[in-house]
C-alpha cells in the first residue's frame, strides 16, 4: 500500500488495533497486516513517529513491559481521549466511504 494513501487512515488503523488491547509497535503492524488480509502494510517509518505524535496528543499512552519472548518492549494503550477520537475517526471514515460509494454508483 502506498504511503500517501495510508497517511489519513493510519491513526484510525492504529487506534482500532489498540482498542482490542495493549500492543507494541511491531504487534500493531502485524495485526494490521493480518486483519486486512495482507492488504495493508504499515511502514515503520510512518508508524513510529505517528505513535509518538499520538502519545504527545494524549490519545495513547506507553509503557515498557516484557514481551512474549521475554524482551523489553514499549507497549501502547488506548486512553479515554483516544477512544473518543477512534469513534470520531470511524464515523468520518464511514461517511467518507459512503459518499464515495454513492458517487460511484450514481456515476
Amino acid at each position: 500500500m502506498p504511503r500517501d494513501a495510508l497517511q489519513g487512515t493510519l491513526d484510525l488503523l492504529v487506534l482500532q488495533t489498540l482498542a482490542r488491547g495493549t500492543q507494541h509497535g511491531y504487534g500493531i503492524t502485524c495485526h494490521i497486516l493480518a486483519a486486512s488480509g495482507q492488504q495493508l502494510r504499515v511502514e515503520e517509518g510512518s508508524l513510529y513517529p505517528a505513535l509518538r505524535r499520538m502519545e504527545s496528543a494524549g490519545l495513547i499512552k506507553a509503557e515498557w513491559k516484557q514481551s512474549e519472548n521475554n524482551r523489553r518492549a514499549r507497549y501502547y494503550q488506548l486512553t479515554k481521549k483516544g477512544a473518543g477520537r477512534l469513534a470520531q475517526e470511524m464515523q468520518k471514515w464511514e461517511q467518507h466511504t459512503a459518499a464515495v460509494k454513492s458517487f460511484l454508483e450514481f456515476a
Partner: protein
C-alpha cells in the same frame, strides 16, 4: 550548568528509548527499517518532551544571538526598560487614583454625599434614613500634635469618625477591635482611637502588646471643608494634650475612604472638642464639616436612594427652620439637593482634578513605549537582513518557516523579558519621584505608589504586548526569503537595493510622527505652566511669606481674636528685616475663600448667582503689605473700630458689576441674604488674583478684621521681607511666641510655594511631558542614527565610487543628511496634523494659548530638526571617511 546537564540527560534518555524501541522491532521482523536516522529524528520531534526541548534550544540560541552584539542588545533592553518602567509608574498613579477599589466589603454599595453636613443633621440622617443599611460620618484632621510636640514634622493626620464607620465600611481591625457604636455616646466621653498599620509599625515599632496602651494627642485642624464657626464662644477653652486609649490596629491595606489621604489614627467624632477646641461643632447646625458615607441597601439603586434621601433632607431642613418659614425660604430650601456619588473607589477630589491629566499622561507614556518598540522593530529588521544568509541556509536545510518564526519571536520575547525585569526597579524609582512630586501639594497627597501585584501584572502584560508589536512583523519578514537568491548573493554586493530598507524607513517616519505629537504636547504644557507662573497677579508675590496661627485653638474667643491678631502683628512689625506685615482671614493661595450673597440698592439680580460675592476680613495695612493699589477712596483706618459704622473696600470687578459707571463710594451693600449687616463702600481696590492663578479675579469685598461679618477661622499673616527663609521663620516664631506662648503656628510658607502648590496639576503635567518629550527625542535620535548608520554601511560601495570620481566631502555629507531630513520631514508632515487634531482635547488644560499654538509648532520643528542633525552627522562624517580603494576592493 546543572540545567544544561539535566537537559542533556533528558535528551539522552529519549534517544535511548527510541533506539531500544527500534531495536525491538528489528529483532522481530526481518524486513528493512528504511532511513533509520530520519525516522529517529521524526520520532524525537513528535515526542512531548522534544517540544519543550526545542523551546529551550530556541532560548539558548536567542541568548547567544543577543550576547553576540552586547552593545546593541543592551541599548534595546534599556530603551524597553525605560518605556515599560515609565508606563508602570504612571499606571501605578492612575491605578491608585482612578481604578483601585476600596479595600472594604462590597465597595459597590458605598455612596458619598456630595456636600459636607453639620453634625446634628448627620445624626438625623443616620437615625432616620430608610434607604441605607448604614450612614457613617467622617472628617479629616491634619497637624495633630503628637506626644506633646508642637513641631509640624512630628504631627499626625487623623480622622474623626462616627462609631458605626468601620461597621458601614465592613472593615475589621487587625489587632484589638475597631471603633463601634459604644464610642458614640456623648461629647468627649471616649478618648479612644484605632491606629493605622503604618503608625503602629513606625512609631510603636510594631509593639505586639499595643492594644490597651495610650497615645498622647493634642489639637489639630480640619483638613478640608470648612464651616462658618459662628460668633459665640461660650466657654473658655485651652488646648491640651490628652492620652487616648488604643483600641486596635487597622490592617495594612486600609487607609480610609479618601483617596490621597493616609490617616494615622481614627478617633470618635464625639471627640471633636478635643481636636478642634472652641468650635463646638457637634451642636452647631450651621457648621458644615462632616463628610457622609453610606451603604445602600441591596435592593436600592443609587437613583432611588438619592430621591428618598432628598425627601428626608428637605424634611430635616424644614424642621430646623422651625415655625414661621416664609414661602421664599421654603422654595430656597427645595433647591438644596444632595447628590450621591459612587463611593466604591473612595472619595477623591483628586479624581475630578486629575482624571483628564492622568489619562493624557498615560497616553503620552504609551507613545514613548511605542517609539521604543519602533526602535526595536528596526533593530530586528536590520538584524534580520544581516542574517538573511543564515536564515536562507537554515531553510534550505529543511527547517520549516513556523519553526524559524517561533525562534525569532523567542528572541524578541527574551528582549522584552529582560526589559520588563529591568523596568521594575526603574518603575519603582520613577514612582518614588512621582510621589515626591505629587506629595508636595497642599493638602499633601499620600498615595502608596510602591509597585504591587497589579502593577507587576500590568508590566508583564505590556512586555508581552511589546513583543507582539516589535517582534512579529520583523520575524515574518526576515523569514520571507527566496532561498536561491539569498544563497547566491554575497553579502557585500547588495549595492543599490533600496527597496529592502523601506520597511525600516517607514518605521522611522512613524517614529518621528509619534515623537512630534509628544513634543507638541510638551511645548503646550510647558508654555501653559510658564504663562500661569508669570501671570500678573496684580501684586508681586516675591518676598511675600504667609503664616497662619490658630487663636481659637489657643482659647481666644470673640473680640479677643482680633486683639491677639493685632498683638502678634505688632510683634511682627518690630522684628528687624520685616518690611511690612498684615493679616487676613482667608490668606493667599491656601485654598480657603469665603463667599456670601449680598444685595445692592439699585441693582436687580437676574439670577441668584448675580448676588454672590467673595469677601475677606483683613487687618490694618493689608493692601499696602500685599501691594494691592487702591484706585478710589481710602484704606481702613484705626477709627473703623468695632463700634464705628461698618465699612468696606470693594474690588474693581465688584464696582463695575454692581455700580457700573456710578461712583461706588458711599454706597451701601447689604451683607447676607438676610440683610445681617449694612456696609458702606469707602474704597475701590485693584483686581488681584489671590486664590487661583487661572481664573479671572471674582467680585470681592474686604471688611476690617475689627468689624468682622463672619467668625474668624484662623489668622493668616502676610509678611514682606527679604530675609532668608530660615531666618524669617525663626523671627516669625519668636514674634508669635512673645505675643502668646499658647498660640500654635499652623504653617509658615513663602507665597511662591503656595502658588506652586496651587499649580500642582499643571506642574505635574508639564514636568512629565518634558520628561516624555525628551525621552521620545532620545529614542527617536537613536532610531534615526541607527537607520542612517545602517544606510551608510549599505551604500559604502556607492559612496566609495563617488569619492573616487571626485565627490566632495560636503556633497557626501549632504547626501546622508538629506536622506535623514527626508524621513524627518515625512514624519513631521504626518505628526503635526495629528498633533493639532489631538491637541483640541487639551483645551481645558491650557492657559494663555490656543491648542494650535504657533510657537509650539515652531519649537517642535526646530527641536526635531536639531535631532535630525545630531542623529545623522556622525554617519555622514563616517561616510566622508570611506576609503574608495578598500570600498571598491571589498567585492
Amino acid at each position: 550548568m546543572l540545567r544544561k546537564f539535566m537537559n542533556s540527560l533528558r535528551r539522552k534518555r529519549l534517544d535511548e528509548e527510541i533506539q531500544e524501541e527500534i531495536e525491538f522491532h528489528r529483532s522481530q521482523s526481518s524486513g528493512s527499517f528504511g532511513n533509520l536516522t530520519a525516522i529517529r529524528e521524526q520520532m524525537r520531534d513528535a515526542s512531548t518532551s522534544a517540544a519543550f526541548e526545542s523551546l529551550l534550544q530556541d532560548i539558548r540560541y536567542g541568548l547567544r544571538i543577543l550576547a553576540r552584539t552586547p552593545g546593541v542588545s543592551a541599548i534595546a533592553i534599556l530603551s524597553l526598560a525605560l518605556g515599560i518602567g515609565a508606563n508602570a509608574a504612571i499606571f501605578s498613579l492612575v491605578d491608585r487614583v482612578m481604578l483601585s477599589f476600596l479595600p472594604v466589603t462590597q465597595p459597590e454599595q458605598l455612596v458619598l454625599f456630595d456636600e459636607v453636613q453639620p453634625y446634628p443633621r448627620f445624626k438625623e440622617f443616620r437615625n432616620r434614613s430608610q434607604v441605607f443599611s448604614g450612614v457613617a460620618g467622617t472628617a479629616s484632621l491634619a497637624d495633630v500634635a503628637f506626644n506633646g510636640s508642637d513641631n509640624p514634622e512630628n504631627s499626625l493626620t487623623g480622622r474623626l469618625v462616627s462609631g458605626n464607620y468601620f461597621n458601614v465600611l465592613g472593615v475589621q481591625a487587625m489587632m484589638g477591635r475597631a471603633l463601634s457604636d459604644a464610642e458614640d455616646t456623648g461629647p468627649g466621653a471616649h478618648p479612644e482611637v484605632v491606629i493605622s498599620y503604618a503608625l503602629w509599625r513606625g512609631r510603636f515599632h510594631a509593639d505586639p502588646a499595643i492594644v490597651g496602651k495610650t497615645i498622647r494627642l493634642g489639637a489639630g485642624r480640619l483638613n478640608s471643608g470648612w464651616g462658618s464657626s459662628g460668633f459665640e464662644q461660650d466657654q473658655p477653652v485651652v488646648p491640651s494634650n490628652r492620652n487616648f486609649l488604643i483600641l486596635g490596629v487597622m490592617p495594612p491595606g486600609f487607609i480610609g475612604e479618601t483617596v490621597g489621604e493616609r490617616p494615622d489614627f481614627w478617633a470618635p467624632l464625639t471627640m471633636e472638642e478635643h481636636f478642634l477646641p472652641g468650635r463646638h461643632w457637634l451642636s452647631r447646625r450651621t457648621a458644615r464639616w462632616v463628610q457622609i458615607i453610606a451603604r445602600l441597601k441591596p435592593c436600592c439603586s443609587v437613583g432611588q436612594a438619592e430621591a428618598a434621601n432628598n425627601i428626608l433632607n428637605r424634611q430635616l431642613l424644614v424642621e430646623e427652620e422651625g415655625a414661621g418659614l416664609s414661602e421664599a425660604r421654603r422654595r430656597e430650601l427645595e433647591q438644596d439637593k444632595i447628590k450621591l456619588l459612587d463611593g466604591s473607589k473612595g472619595f477623591s477630589g483628586l479624581r475630578n482634578e486629575f482624571a483628564k491629566p492622568l489619562w493624557i499622561l498615560m497616553a503620552m507614556v504609551c507613545v514613548v513605549l511605542l517609539i521604543a518598540c519602533a526602535n526595536l522593530a528596526n533593530l530586528l529588521l536590520a538584524r534580520g537582513t544581516a542574517r538573511r544568509r543564515e536564515i536562507g541556509t537554515r531553510m534550505a536545510l529543511g527547517v520549516d518557516r513556523p519553526r524559524l518564526v517561533r525562534q525569532l519571536i523567542t528572541e524578541s520575547f527574551l528582549l522584552s523579558l529582560f526589559g520588563a525585569v529591568l523596568s521594575v526597579p526603574i518603575g519603582w524609582l520613577a514612582s518614588r519621584a512621582l510621589f515626591t512630586m505629587v506629595s508636595a501639594g497642599d493638602p499633601a497627597l499620600a498615595l502608596n505608589l510602591a509597585p504591587d501585584g497589579r502593577v507587576l501584572l500590568f508590566t508583564g502584560a505590556v512586555a508581552i504586548l511589546t513583543t507582539l508589536l516589535f517582534g512579529v512583523a520583523p520575524a515574518l519578514r526576515s523569514t520571507r526569503v527566496d532561498i536561491h537568491s539569498v544563497l547566491k548573493e554575497s553579502e557585500r554586493s547588495t549595492t543599490g537595493n533600496r527597496s529592502r530598507v523601506t520597511g525600516e524607513k517607514a518605521v522611522v517616519v512613524i517614529q518621528v510622527a509619534l515623537s512630534t505629537t509628544l513634543l507638541f504636547g510638551m511645548a503646550l504644557f510647558t508654555r501653559t505652566l510658564y504663562n500661569l507662573r508669570t501671570q500678573d497677579l496684580g501684586y508681586s508675590p516675591e518676598r511675600l511669606t504667609t503664616a497662619r496661627i490658630d487663636p481659637i485653638g489657643a482659647g481666644y474667643k470673640g473680640e479677643q481674636i482680633g486683639e491677639i491678631a493685632q498683638r502678634v502683628l505688632e510683634k511682627l512689625r518690630t522684628q528687624p528685616g520685616i518690611v511690612a506685615a498684615s493679616y487676613s482671614d482667608n490668606g493667599l493661595f491656601v485654598g480657603r475663600d469665603s463667599g456670601t450673597h449680598i444685595r445692592v440698592n439699585g441693582f436687580q439680580p437676574s439670577s441668584p448667582k448675580d448676588s454672590l460675592a467673595r469677601f475677606d476680613q483683613v487687618g490694618p495695612g493689608y493692601f499696602s503689605t500685599v501691594g494691592i493699589p487702591l484706585l478710589l477712596g481710602r484704606d481702613f483706618a484705626d477709627t473703623d473700630t468695632a463700634h464705628a459704622p461698618r465699612v468696606t473696600v470693594i474690588n474693581e470687578s465688584m464696582a463695575r458689576f454692581y455700580f457700573g459707571k456710578r461712583s461706588p463710594l458711599g454706597q451701601t451693600i447689604f451683607y447676607d441674604s438676610r440683610l445681617k449687616f449694612t456696609l458702606t463702600v469707602i474704597g475701590v481696590a485693584k483686581d488681584v488674583r489671590d486664590h487661583l492663578v487661572r481664573d479671572q479675579p471674582p467680585r470681592r469685598f474686604y471688611v476690617s478684621y475689627m468689624q468682622p461679618v463672619d467668625g474668624q477661622m484662623g489668622t493668616d499673616y502676610e509678611i514682606r521681607s527679604s530675609l532668608a527663609p530660615a531666618v524669617l521663620d525663626r523671627q516669625i516664631r519668636q514674634a508669635v511666641h512673645s505675643a502668646s506662648p499658647r498660640l500654635r503656628i499652623e504653617y509658615i510658607r513663602p507665597l511662591d510655594k503656595s502658588i506652586d502648590n496651587s499649580l500642582l496639576r499643571e506642574r505635574l503635567i508639564a514636568r512629565l511631558s518634558i520628561l516624555f518629550g525628551f525621552l521620545s527625542l532620545l529614542l527617536g535620535c537613536a532610531g534615526l542614527f541607527g537607520i542612517m548608520a545602517y544606510s551608510v554601511g549599505r551604500r559604502t560601495r556607492e559612496i566609495g565610487i563617488r569619492i573616487a570620481i571626485g565627490g566632495q566631502p560636503h556633497n557626501v555629507v549632504w547626501t546622508v543628511v538629506s536622506e535623514a531630513l527626508l524621513l524627518v520631514v515625512g514624519g513631521l508632515l504626518i505628526g503635526i496634523p495629528v498633533a493639532l487634531l489631538l491637541s483640541r482635547y487639551l483645551q481645558s488644560l491650557l492657559f494663555g494659548l490656543t491648542p494650535a499654538d504657533g510657537w509650539s509648532i515652531f519649537a517642535v520643528i526646530v527641536t526635531t530638526g536639531l535631532m535630525t542633525l545630531v542623529a545623522s552627522i556622525i554617519p555622514a562624517r563616517r561616510a566622508t571617511r570611506i576609503d574608495p580603494v578598500s570600498a571598491l576592493r571589498c567585492e
